[in-house]
Symmetry: C2
Subunit: 102 residues, 2 copies
């Protein structure tokens, strides 16, 4: 769980995570979520926060009104691991249920 | 409430908001809050989110683990207004009650 993903596994994982891409300036993956309003955006963040605590793995994220920009990386591994894929997968499931803008 | 603050009023307001300062690259005020852990940081964010909805004025903020970096500005006014001071004041009160690291 805490080893950096192989290039093949990383490609495979990203292919299953729509909108996620490699971060530009570091070994990380990122996505910008856009919701209907602040209520929906922060509702998403609240549910993700609970999931992050449970996974003991936390996002870097920036919120302004209805957008949430997320960057995931595993500090201890210096890059992207299965823990990031797990958290991204949880975010996708949560976003699907909290008013993600089509 | 939606007019940019005079320089005198802005100095006065910032003097009453410890740790807040002018943002470097734009007309805004900012502060980095450091909490004991993610639980405390997100607890702070949750309380601020409720306050922001009530004030109908929202922060720009970046969270990574136990730090929350906040930038406040009033979009419609193109700079800092009393609405930002109100939200910053609310954040100070909330931070004082949610495990802000000394």
């Amino acid at each position: 769980m805490t080893e950096r993903l192989s290039p093949a596994r990383r490609r495979e994982a990203l292919a299953g995570l729509p909108g996620w891409q490699d971060a530009e300036d570091r070994d990380a993956i990122s996505k910008v979520f856009t919701f209907a309003d602040f209520n929906a955006a922060f509702g998403f963040m609240s549910r993700v926060a609970l999931a992050a605590e449970k996974l003991d793995h936390h996002p870097e994220w920036f919120n302004v009104y209805r957008t949430v920009s997320v960057t995931l990386s595993t500090h201890d591994a210096g890059g992207v691991t299965e823990r990031d894929i797990s958290l991204a997968t949880a975010m996708e499931a949560i976003a699907a249920g909290t008013g993600l803008k089509p």
